[in-house]
Each structure stands twice: as C-alpha cells, then as structure tokens.
C-alpha cells in the first residue's frame, strides 16, 4: 500500500464520528505493582472498536504491563478492566477466542517452521483463515519452510503479527510490532493495522517510536513513569498546542513537566 493511500484511509476513518464507536476496552484506576516498583499508577482510559489506540512512552513507562493486564496474561494489583464487556482474568476462555495478541518477545518455539506455526495458530482459532493467507498478508510466503530462529528480526515481527491475525480478532493487542523492522516492513505492518481498524477491530498498539505512532494512531495514550500523561484523539493532541508540533515534541514537553523530571532537575 502506498503512503498516500494509507494517509487517505486515515483521513476517511477519522471522519467517522469517534463518539459513535463502541467502547471495546475500559480500564479504571488500574495499578500494577512489582516487588519494588509501581509499574502502572492509577490509570483510566477507554479504547474503541474501529480505532487504533497507540500506547506510547519510553521503556519502562508501563505500556507492556497495561497491555498484559488487558490481554489477561498479568494480574492487576487493583483496578477494574473490562474487555468486550468481560473480565480478562475471570472470563479468559470467552475472551481468548476474540482477541489477537502479539507479545514483545514473539513467544514461538525457535525450531518450529514458519508454515507449521501459522497452521497451528489457524487451528487454535478454528481455521477462521488459512496459513497461506496469513503468510501472504505479511509477505512471508517465501520463508514457509524456514525455522523461527533463522528468521531476521523484521521477519519474526511480521510472523508474530500474522499469528495475532489468525484470530480475526475483535480486539488486537500489539506490543512493539515495528521494533527492529525495516521501512518496507513498517509500511506493511501499518497497512495491516489500519485494515484491522477499518474492519471494526479495536487495536491497542504499544510503541516507543513516536513517528510511527503519529502515522498510525487514531487515539493516543501517553505513558510516563507509570502514569497516563495524555489520553486524547491524535488530531486533538496535535492541535492542542496551536503550533505545528509533532507527537515527539508534545511528548518531550510532557516528560519535562513530569514530577520525576522536575525532581531530577533539582538534584
């Protein structure tokens, strides 16, 4: 897909009233603590069906912890999370058939071959699509017989994304899908992400690459030190400053004004 048609699609999607879209994920007062660290500190947000909600912030900001709680692989310390009206922990078996999850570290057995892996995931979801279709979508047909360990970083990411698509998901959790991916791979992944949203899926995508976030987002959740410092539609956020600022500029100003940064400056 060309960059221009991708932009056009973005504009068209943005024209549909965001208000009318259904809330797919609702998070209220979420706290996630590790032994010595509060990773997520009392955050609340909604993510809507048909939108790409991008979760941005530096490493260790709480993005992955939040995504993991929403996708049911981590237990929250406190707070209320609802995905498609269900509890990600208690109703896990009901939710699992409707969500596609792409973990940061792949989660694939290294000796397994590309086609086998894709086939396995298609079977798990009752063959809603075929392995050939999945591999075609992420341009890995040529690597069908290659084992996971022999794939390049970008190929691994594309396959991992394909596995999340096997669900034909209503909600997709994508953790750093473009990390380590070259420019063509990024274009391809961005196209898939936008297509998911056009098909009505609620896409939650974590990234610390802010230019990528700006290209693909409908809605932005900005994390810093476990707190949510911004929660707004992308256009609103970009217009809020009144200047021609990028997401990166806005993030820098939020990070600079955070209590932690002030503390660092004082020291």
């Amino acid at each position: 897909m060309s960059a221009k048609s991708c932009e056009l699609r973005t504009v068209m999607v943005m024209n549909i009233s965001s208000e009318s879209r259904q809330i797919a994920i609702s998070v209220r007062e979420l706290i996630v603590d590790y032994k010595l660290l509060r990773a997520v500190n009392n955050i609340s947000f909604d993510a809507k069906a048909g939108e790409v909600t991008v979760v941005i912030g530096p490493n260790g900001a709480g993005k992955t912890s939040t995504m993991e709680v929403c996708s049911g692989v981590r237990t929250a310390t406190s707070g209320k999370v609802s995905v498609l009206g269900l509890d990600p922990k208690k109703d896990r078996s009901k939710i699992n058939s409707q969500i596609g999850v792409m973990l940061q570290d792949g989660g694939v057995y290294p000796s397994a071959r590309v086609f086998e892996i894709a086939q396995h995931y298609c079977n798990l979801y009752g063959n809603r699509t075929t392995a050939d279709e999945l591999l075609d979508a992420v341009d890995l047909t040529q690597q069908k017989k290659t084992s996971w360990r022999k794939l390049s970083g970008g190929e691994k990411q594309r396959l991992s994304l394909a596995l999340a698509l096997a669900a034909k998901p209503r909600v997709a959790f994508l953790d750093e899908p473009t990390s380590g991916v070259d420019i063509f791979g990024r274009d391809l992944i961005r196209g898939i992400v936008r297509q998911l949203a056009s098909d009505g899926c609620a896409v939650i995508m974590a990234t610390h690459e802010l230019d990528e976030a700006q290209r693909v987002a409908d809605h932005v959740l900005m994390f810093h030190n476990g707190s949510l410092v911004a929660n707004a539609p992308l256009t609103e956020l970009l217009n809020s400053t009144g200047e021609n600022q990028t997401l990166e500029d806005i993030f820098r100003s939020f990070a600079k004004n955070s209590p932690m940064s002030k503390l660092r400056d004082e020291q």
């Binding site: 996708s71 049911g72 692989v73 896990r92 078996s93 699992n96 058939s97 969500i99 999850v101 973990l103 570290d105 792949g106 989660g107 694939v108 057995y109 290294p110 000796s111 995931y121 798990l124 979801y125 009752g126 596995l163 669900a167």
Partner: protein
C-alpha cells in the same frame, strides 16, 4: 516433545542400553534369581521418570522461557487444555517406550511369573503423575538452563537411589534409608512386586500416592507461566 535427538537418547537409548548391558554382564552379583526379572521393573520405572519428569520438565521450561506458554495462554487453547495436551503426549510416549522395553526384555528372556496388569497400570499412572509433578514444579520456577541441569541431576539421583540397578539394602545404611522413601524406589519396588510376586505393599503404595498428590499440588500452586 520427542522431536530432538537428545530426547531419543534419554527416552529410548539409555533405558534399552542399561537393560541389555546389565542383564548380560555380571556387575550386579548381589541380585538373587534371574537378573532380568530384577532389572525390568526398575528400567520401566526409569522410563517413566525420563518421560514424565525430565522430558516434560525440560521442554516445558524452555517453552516458558521462550514465552510460548504465555502466548498460548492468550489463545483459545488456554492453559488447562495445554496441560491436558501435554499429559496425553506423555501417555503416548510412555506407551511406545514401555512396549519397546517389554519387547527387548522378552528377547532377553524376561518372563514374569504372575503379572497383575491392572495393578501395574495404576502404578504407572500414579508414578507418572508424581514425576510429572516434580518436573513441572522445577520447570515452572527455574530459569530454562538451570532447570535443564536440575532435571538431569535429579534424574541421576532418582536412578541411583531408586533401587533400579542396585537394591537399596546394598547401599550404606543412611543412604539406603533415604533412598527407600524416594518415589523412584517406591515405584520400582511396587512394580517388582506386581511383576514377580503378585504382592502389594500398601504402605509403599500410600507413600507413592502421597508423593504424587503433593508434587502435583505443588506444581499447580507454584507454576509461573512466564518469567
């Protein structure tokens, strides 16, 4: 699970080699009666340990560290069905393993007196649960490489102190007393009774059942799906 070459060594080559070697040589002079009658139940017990504990434990440990378990936990397979599929995989491998060992044993002249088949099957099942519980407890907590070493080390301990090659009463007294209560000793001795004497030591059986219950419970409580 039985995909890699080293697994084949553990699951098939080692038990068969031990069986053939020690039934054909006189390194174990203390064994009264037919050597193969003593060896066979112990080697069957070793086969159960290699599949249910070592093979299951090592593969699960690596799957955990690669994030495979975490990711599969988000699919409709879910964690419960994942465990069920692993249990069925163990059963299939054990059936093949035991069939092969029994054929090799018969070729070496193994002819048990009175087999209590139902008793043997129940014992194998309880033993499998017990060793699977131990394997998964280690796999669910340790780092993959440490887990690999721990499973192999424990395999050796359970083997040497399991009354499999050397009867426990031939060991130094203290060591023998410890060995007697290990699950490998309990299973090999119970199997030996079922094959050769058609007797049943209920104290040993209760102890093995206790091990199985405790180890499975510990695995369920302590298992972490990801690091």
């Amino acid at each position: 699970m039985a995909r890699n070459g080293e697994q084949l060594l553990l699951l098939v080559v080692i038990p068969v080699m031990l069986l053939v070697f020690f039934s054909q040589t006189d390194f174990l002079p203390t064994i009264a009666g037919n050597k193969i009658d003593f060896l066979m139940p112990g080697i069957l017990c070793l086969a159960v340990i290699s599949t249910a504990m070592v093979s299951l434990g090592i593969s699960t440990g690596f799957e955990r560290s690669y994030g495979v378990l975490k990711r599969l936990g988000t699919t409709p397979l879910g964690t419960r069905r994942l465990v069920m599929s692993k249990v069925s995989a163990i059963c299939v491998i054990e059936v093949a393993q035991l069939a092969l060992l029994i054929i090799v044993g018969q070729l070496l002249g193994w002819s048990p007196n009175r087999i209590n088949l139902a008793q043997v099957l129940v014992l194998l099942l309880v033993g499998t649960s017990c060793f699977a519980g131990i394997g998964l407890t280690l796999a669910g907590r340790l780092r993959a490489e440490i887990n690999l070493a721990a499973q192999n080390g424990l395999y050796l301990v359970l083997f040497l102190l399991g009354g499999i090659l050397v009867p426990n009463d031939e060991l130094p007294k203290t060591l023998g007393n410890v060995a007697q209560v290990l699950p490998s000793s309990l299973l090999s001795s119970l199997l030996r009774d079922s094959f050769n004497n058609n007797t049943f030591d209920s104290t040993n059986a209760i102890a093995l059942g206790g091990w199985a219950f405790a180890m499975c419970a510990l695995a369920v409580i302590s298992f972490k799906w990801s690091d």
